[in-house]
Amino acid sequence: MRHHSTVGKKERMNAMGLDREDTAEKFNDLDDVMASPAAEWKRPWWVREVAKPTMDIDWDVTERFDARKIQQVSWKKYVGEEKAKELGKRREEKVRQWMIDQKSGYSLRDRALDIAGAQAGSVGTSFLGSWAKTAEATKGEGEMFASDASRSRLTDPARPKPLSPEELGVPRYEGTPAENSRMIRSALRHFGATQVGYVELTERNRKLIYAEDAMDGKRIEFENVEKAYETNEKRVIPEKARWVIVFSIQMSEELIKRKSGLMPSALSAAATGAAYGQARNAIDQLQCFLHVLGYQGLMGTWFNGLGIAPAFAVLAGLGEIGRINRMISPEHGPLQRVFKVVTDLPLEPTKPIDAGIMNFCRTCKVCAEECPADCLSKETEPYWEPKGPWNNPGHKTWYEDSPTCRTWWAVSTAGCSTCFAVCAFSKKNLSVIHDLVKIAIAKNRIMPDKVNAFFAKMDGVFGYQDQRNIDDWWGMELPPRGTKNVKGTQLD
């Protein structure tokens, strides 16, 4: 049954300007608004949708990956327990001493900004949503909505569980996949997402869902059940949850470029930390939104979620794989962090794209040359062979030496994002020259390698790869989250 979320009263329609005769389009209800072409994802004209990603994939080689193998979890194993312990001790000493010395970029205030963004926030990530394990559904008299309950139970440490349509006694939301996709994009933008795309899970690409959880090693399995559930050994995704919502949170370009010579600073690391902190809220809000609509939204117990982020971002067309072995989008470059939620709400998949980015990375190599840990590949062509067990084989890319990267974090005391900061696609995009260069990268067929190498060279000449003064940041008046975040929206 088609269940429209109608705006029934004429005066309300008037107030919203929805029934004006002179509007170009006639909207009868909110679903029509969502179905309007204006609600489409606006990509630059030179970004081409393609049937297959620009990165070659061999699905026969690809296998479900144990998320515990990634360097963020298994770094100690890769470098050795003793070395990791020693590096950790030295890191602690340095962190403490630099706070006392008030070292630029590593002072107490720089470190506080990084820690607050990354580690604080209202909730953590969880499989079923943070509220699923808190108080039972709140449906006292006059407490239909969680917000009512929140106001009346401020002293209750347990957060009230939002009601599902079943508990509210109303039909669940129903829409076409196209309408649902537009709805989720609007909701996620409201929750703070930058770009949103969708992947439909198939027998093949299901291999990109982790086999084991990164944190507790629980098996992640698919079963023919109605509701997702978890036991001490496994987390179960229902077969009918066949769609992955893939979205990104943009990072501050001004912040991420504030290194200290070769070293990443605590201040530059704060750009990444804040994106993860914001994602924690956005993911939980999305899971709650889906629950209230009558659907399931499933996430991992850690930021990496239930599947491999760059892979899903590429399949969803958020961007292409780059030399950093991460997703680079035409609009925001690599200055984003990618997150995924698996759902049973039917969605319309978005297609992979070709904006010439992967081809540009073949000749650019600036990230690899600037990498202070020398852990990025300088090979011109991507390759099939992984560097180690932290890489999942089955796609042709520039596999990176992750443990060396992570060791550099320990040595420098801060999370490094130098490769993100120096990338030619990391721009604020206010000057039209960036668009002209991107059009040439996407469309030029005359000596493309030479032209792309020229662009990479000029990027340095213009000073875009230069590091910024660290302490100046504290006196700047930047927009919220340090980003002018309208690219690709209707306000662009």
């Binding site: 721009k427 000057s431 039209v432």
Partner: protein
Amino acid sequence: MWRFVYGVVLGAGGMALWDWLKTENNTLDWYVWPLMLLALALGTLAVHHFFASRAELETKAAWIGLVIFGLPALLLSGLVVSFFQ
């Protein structure tokens, strides 16, 4: 605001050129027009890039862009003006 000012200046310049061509009964060789348009495009790019880069807090990019796009624009403008003599 600056786009508006630029539009007014461009419009005034265009009208002055049209007026000069009509009142003096002058004609320009065909190749002067593409040169003039190229000079205008490069000059516009130089000015836009300068202010946009300042807004991006990319001071070095602003000045280098002004030189790289602005100098050819000035040279071409000089060449075009010489055809007006």
